[in-house]
């Protein structure tokens, strides 16, 4: 799941750095992800994993790192292939 998340971050997170160089707990916002990019990332994750983030999860901390995204997706029962 982590690889797929990383690929989506690379495509939609508009990071100035390569996501490969970041560990699972690195702060994506500190790495340069903007708010608007994080919305695109959120929508891309929903499409890729066929889930819908509830309102309570539409906040900054959920999309802060590869690990926090993975935890959120697992909480929503996303396919962990």
């Amino acid at each position: 799941m982590s690889d797929k998340i990383r690929q989506i971050i690379q495509e939609h997170g508009r990071l100035p750095v390569d996501v490969k160089g970041l560990d699972d707990h690195a702060d994506l916002y500190q790495a340069g992800m903007s708010s608007h990019a994080s919305v695109n990332l959120m929508l891309a994750l929903e499409a890729a994993f066929d889930v819908e983030f509830p309102d309570s999860m539409l906040k900054r901390s959920v999309f802060q790192s590869v690990a926090s995204i993975e935890e959120a997706l697992q909480g929503l029962g996303a396919n962990a292939e």
Partner: protein, 309 residues
């Protein structure tokens, strides 16, 4: 029409008094009013006060009509963040027969939208929007960045309301800063604190708050949560006629949203950020009438000296 939000009894009473005293002139559409002599004197007086206080910034004036090329709106992200507030201009391009049919429907106040097609223009949603593409055309920004004064432009928000402080078209007095991230963030914070002083000088009691824009939908909730967590938007609020204080100015740090959208960078290749501030001139005018009474001849000298030195 969009959902009409009725005013509270106090807002409705304040509006009725403004109309009775010919400060506002009703047009039949909620949120769209003519402005009377004294209303305009106060609005222009406050606008001029902002200009005097901003003078040391050495901002470059860059003014636009209250319209935006439709393609600029389409490229700005506005329709993603605020589709519910935008106003698009449509026009007639049909035949003589179509014109007759359109007129017949129109005189009966029936739906004649079938004969209207989208034009290349939309109503201006915020005074700073035309500034970004204009600056992008110039190329990279010099070290230290630039400050632009787009003046007080009429802007449109499609949100009919019975609260006189929620207008569909009003003057937004903006200033826009382009530059290195630190420079821009410091400018935004300095103006936020400067604004508190301006409001106190005209006898108002301002308070500042971290705020969010009225973003649309689920993506909007996420943007609002991000905006709040990063304190990207501050508002200054004053009492008008609503139950709580009303936002009359906002101080917005866009980070790289507009510089990324329009391809604006620093001359040394570094990342450029933007921030803007906006004074809602009609709301401030309403706040001044609410605080000092409807007769401007009876306002405290301390206030009138600031507005009309």
């Amino acid at each position: 029409m969009a959902d009409f939000q009725p005013g509270t009894p106090e807002e409705a009473a304040f509006l009725a008094e403004l109309i009775a005293r010919r400060l506002l002139v009703p047009t039949g559409v909620p949120g769209v009013y003519g402005r009377g002599e004294d209303f305009e004197r106060v609005r222009e007086g406050f606008d001029a006060l902002v200009t005097r206080i901003a003078a040391p910034d050495g901002a470059e004036r860059l003014h636009f009509p209250p319209l935006l090329p439709r393609q600029q709106l389409e490229g700005s992200g506005y329709l993603k963040s605020f589709p519910h507030l935008a106003g698009s201009i449509f026009g007639f391009e049909g035949s003589e027969k179509d014109a007759i049919e359109q007129e017949e429907r129109a005189v009966r106040h029936e739906d004649w939208s079938e004969h209207q097609v989208m034009t290349d223009l939309v109503l201006l949603p915020a005074a700073c929007y035309p500034v970004y593409p204009a600056i992008a055309q110039r190329g990279a920004l010099p070290a230290g960045g630039i400050t632009i004064d787009p003046g007080a432009a009429y802007v449109f928000r499609h949100e009919p309301s019975g609260d006189p402080a929620r207008l569909q078209m009003f003057h937004q007095r903006e200033m826009v800063r382009f530059g290195e991230p630190d420079t821009v963030a410091e400018w935004r914070d300095a103006w936020r604190d400067r604004a508190l002083k301006i409001f106190r000088r005209v006898g108002l009691e301002p308070q500042k708050e971290v705020a969010t824009d009225p973003f649309f939908g689920r993506a909007g909730r996420m943007l609002a949560a991000n905006q709040r967590a990063q304190e990207l938007k501050f508002e200054v609020l004053i009492p008008i006629a609503s139950p709580g204080p009303t936002a009359v100015a906002s101080f917005n740090y866009h980070q790289d949203h507009f510089t990324h959208t329009f391809g604006i960078a620093m001359a040394d290749g570094g990342v450029a950020h933007t921030a803007c501030l906006g004074f809602g001139l009609e709301r401030i005018t309403l706040g001044l009438f609410h605080a000092h009474g409807f007769d401007i001849a009876a306002w405290p000298a301390k206030v009138t000296r600031e507005l009309w030195p």
